[in-house]
Amino acid sequence: MKSIPKLIRRFMGIMTLSIILLVTLNITFFAILFVRNASTFSPWDMADHAAAALQLTDSGYSLSDDIMAKLKEENAWAVLIDNDTRQVVWHTDHLPDNIPLQYTLSDIAELTRGYIDGYPTFTGTAQNGLLVLGYPKDRFWKHTRASWDYGFIADLPRNTMLLLAVNIVFVFLIYAAVDARLLRSIRPITNGIQDLSRGSPVCLKEQGILSELAEKINKTSAILQNQAEQLRKKETARANWIAGVSHDVRTPLSMILGYAGQLEASETLPETERKKAAVIVRQSSRMKDLINDLNLASKLEYDMQPLTRKQENAVSIVRQVVVDFMNTNIEDTFSFEWKTADTLSACYINADKDLLKRAIANLIQNSINHNENGCVIYASVDEDSTSCRICIEDNGTGASDQQIDRLNKTPHYMICDTNTTQQRHGLGLLIVKQIIKGHNGTMCIDHSEYGGFKVILIIPKSIYPPP
């Protein structure tokens, strides 16, 4: 089944696309966040500004109002440590209690690394001392000044990409593994569905993640098989019924045909009586043909008569059928003309000889049945590069355009699935149609150039050269 790899390819595509999208989205998000945070506010700048804005006046140190306002807003405090005495010489009003007012060198070193008693601190250089700006304890994320290895930072982009790649590969591997499992459980199901469509029985193992589906398919298969079996039984019963009836009619018909035949040939009976006997013979012969046709038609329709095809010479088959008619079944009012070219002694087709003979005999019988007053029947075999054309025509009453059209198009009542009381053509032509279909050929009904009815059977020529 071709759709499974296609399905997987599509899934993989969608996944790759979603991974790329996610990564891009994340990078963009972080970049925006970072840029916004970084650009708005920096406490180091603030410390420098404050240090610059600190002025020594007569009444001591003082900070400009706007800086003071900003510090207040941030809830920050500031102290100025004198360079020489290392004592706090100035501080903002709301200084937390535990901030020392005297600093040692090591204290200074400590606070420049970040904190005084947990308060994040930032320093700026003022005129005579160091301005220390302190913020509330939870204003900034605490981190020690880890000394990042240079190599680590330098390789960071490459390593990040590598990590990302490894991640993606892992995701794919996991996906492939899961997919393979799913596929393993899907394959029997797709095979089962294919078998279903072919009409063969399906029995799947009902296990794994798709066991429910398998169970449903098994059920469907069982239903289909059951229906097919019922249909087969019905068709067999019908064909057997027809065969049975035709068998039972044969023996009584033998008596009628046999004795009427004797009466017809009797030399002691007067002419008028013999003629009556002849009518009985002719009509019972038609019944006999009907029984044979009915039986064969039902068998062909239900595929109970398999064709056994061999390489045969169509010319010789048609000749034999015509001669059989001339030898037995023919009244004086009917005559035959053989119209096959003398140069064509053989035309090889792949045929079931008995059935093809039957088809041709039916066509001839058809001409006889429809021309009570007699006619000339013309038989010919013709060929072109690919097919063999067998033509049976007569100079009898023929048929109207409308009738011919109907014969070519409407189905016979035996194979017509709508209720109909309309009189259709006889079984004879149906059998010809069925037989020719079995030979991959076509049947065409037309007007004859001799004035009557014409049927052409076109059968593909045998591919292999004659033996």
Partner: protein
């Protein structure tokens, strides 16, 4: 055209239905057959066969105490004579194809009297052709046992091919035999491409049997289809 030597042949007729036995009996008797025995089942048939030693058996396929095929095998043990089947079952056709079981011919019911007579006569002619003293034609006689033609007191020998062709034509006397059937009789299974040879042989046969070979009256041509041998009645 009646051949007396055939009419004396002993025929065994087996069918479980009395009406059908009567019919066949009537057809054969009307034609002139005189030695006909009947049986209605396998048991009777075996008894009758032992008593009357038939030269042709006509058997129904379905019998009350067995089938015709088994009966045929039993009959064949008692003597080698031709067997013709009567069957009401179209679907039995396959069994008869090629007559693999040793049947010589079969007729599907219902049948016309002339059809039955033709089959019976054809089988008898084929099986007992050497007993026929002479086949009479308009201008000559054929002696199959010696493979020669007697025309105006002169004995003209037939070649093997001419003998084969005439045998087939005689077996189907009064009927057309197709070109293909004649070629097959003379040249075997793949008889195609022998049409010209056949014409040459027919011409030579006519020279032997006809008064005027260019205007044949006994071996006539049916244009495009085949040939017909016309045998004179006695």
């Amino acid at each position: 055209m009646k051949e007396d030597y055939l009419l004396n042949k002993r025929i065994l007729l087996v069918d479980d239905e009395q009406a059908l036995l009567d019919l066949v009996l009537s057809i054969l008797k009307d034609y002139g057959f005189q030695n006909i025995k009947t049986a209605k089942n396998v048991k009777e048939a075996m008894e009758q066969a032992e008593k009357s030693r038939p030269e042709l058996a006509i058997l129904d396929v379905m019998l009350p105490d067995g089938n015709g095929f088994a009966l045929m095998e039993q009959l064949k043990k008692g003597g080698d004579y031709p067997i013709l089947f009567l069957t009401a079952r179209g679907e039995e056709d396959d069994k008869f194809k090629g007559f693999g079981l040793g049947a010589d011919d079969y007729i599907v019911k219902p049948f016309l009297p002339k059809e039955l007579l033709f089959r019976v006569l054809a089988i008898l002619r084929r099986s007992y052709k050497d007993e026929n003293p002479l086949v009479c034609l308009r201008d000559s006689q054929i002696d199959f046992s010696r493979a020669e033609v007697i025309k105006q007191g002169e004995h003209i020998p037939l070649t093997a091919k001419e003998h084969d062709l005439l045998s087939v034509l005689y077996r189907n006397a009064g009927r057309i035999v197709t070109i293909d059937a004649l070629c097959e009789a003379a040249w075997g299974d793949n008889p195609f491409g022998y049409e010209n040879s056949l014409m040459a042989h027919i011409r030579r046969i006519r020279e032997k049997i006809e008064q005027n070979p260019s205007r044949p009256v006994s071996l006539v041509t049916v244009k495009g289809l085949g040939y017909k041998l016309i045998v004179e009645g006695k």
